[in-house]
Point group: C2
Chain length 230, copies 2
Amino acid sequence: MEEKERLKQLAAESAVDFIRSGMVIGLGTGSTAFFAIKKIAHQLHNNILKNVVAVPSSLATEREALRFGIPLTTLDEHPAIDLTIDGADEVDPGLNLIKGRGGALLREKILIQASRRTIIIVDESKLSSRLGASSPVPVEVLPFAWKPTALFLTSLGGPNIHRLMPDGRPFLTDQGNFILDCNFGPIEEPVHLALKMKERAGIVEHGMFLGLVSDVIVAGQNGINHLKIK
Amino acid sequence: MEEKERLKQLAAESAVDFIRSGMVIGLGTGSTAFFAIKKIAHQLHNNILKNVVAVPSSLATEREALRFGIPLTTLDEHPAIDLTIDGADEVDPGLNLIKGRGGALLREKILIQASRRTIIIVDESKLSSRLGASSPVPVEVLPFAWKPTALFLTSLGGPNIHRLMPDGRPFLTDQGNFILDCNFGPIEEPVHLALKMKERAGIVEHGMFLGLVSDVIVAGQNGINHLKIK
């Protein structure tokens, strides 16, 4: 296994230790989150965890969880989640995040906002001194509005690329929307930028997660580091 | 024709006078906007207006425009609109609006934000001293998130009703989302409330249109009144 994959797995398995029997959990999307899913399944099958039900943040995660036999539920049945475990593309020193490389940012943000606690799991390559330094900000937009929205995002300082599938067709989110990957570079005022984006109808959600999580588990060459906001 | 319908028609036809040949126009949704569509079609057929193309704000408006022979376009082809004409459910003294009784609030707000100018047309019964005094605020929400979102909106002071069709099934917007009609009563701080709503993932759009329009044409017993923000 590649070293980075080993670190992702290490972070994911550390986070699973925070799950207790009887919890409603939220499952993130992406390669790191999938390591958590495998570990949770293992603990359920071995009766280390019992009566855990999970809300998946994407159709891909739903398939993965079903494949490993994790009991699923919905926000209709459980509008409050005890603990969500998810990855991130970039983490700043204030534990603000950029997410959405997997295209599931909208449902991931919904789960995190519906959760009492969220633990983000990353390998150390995801740490960043300032959001935007290493990742574009994915923005989910309504296809009806994508053209004026692309111009608007450029006017905010984020020239953007319409995300495509390998076959050249537009990537579609689970909601049937487009993703514009916006290259803002290092973002001076993420709260202000987020505000400007959310004022614009047709921007369904953006990939900046500001002030939403209090725990990040980072796996690096020197082991596990649990970052916390007090 | 009922008196209120006559007033709607009067306001709509006054607004159409602001359209010039060659313009890209945005077409609102609802009974008042449909009077404008009829008048625009009449002027096109009689060569009073020429080379006008329209972006419809809903599938219903698209059907209506096609039925009357108005040439249609999209925001992909014309990301900037010269003039949008639309109705409203409530208008306050600062020309802030509540819209969305017809369920088209998202695309209507997209069109207005993409427009150089918007003229709102109402009969005088829509004037209100404070937003929320006479209308609920329609909120378009992702079905995946509707339950926690309904609880969240209640916590903001807006107990809400899940909008249904006459047959009892949930009303679906053109995007396949649900509408929660939120009864805030008269809203003290609409800008603050809008901010809180937009911070929440799963709220695709809300029906408060704050600071977005500069012209409202009101038809009343004493004729036409053109309200303007300088």
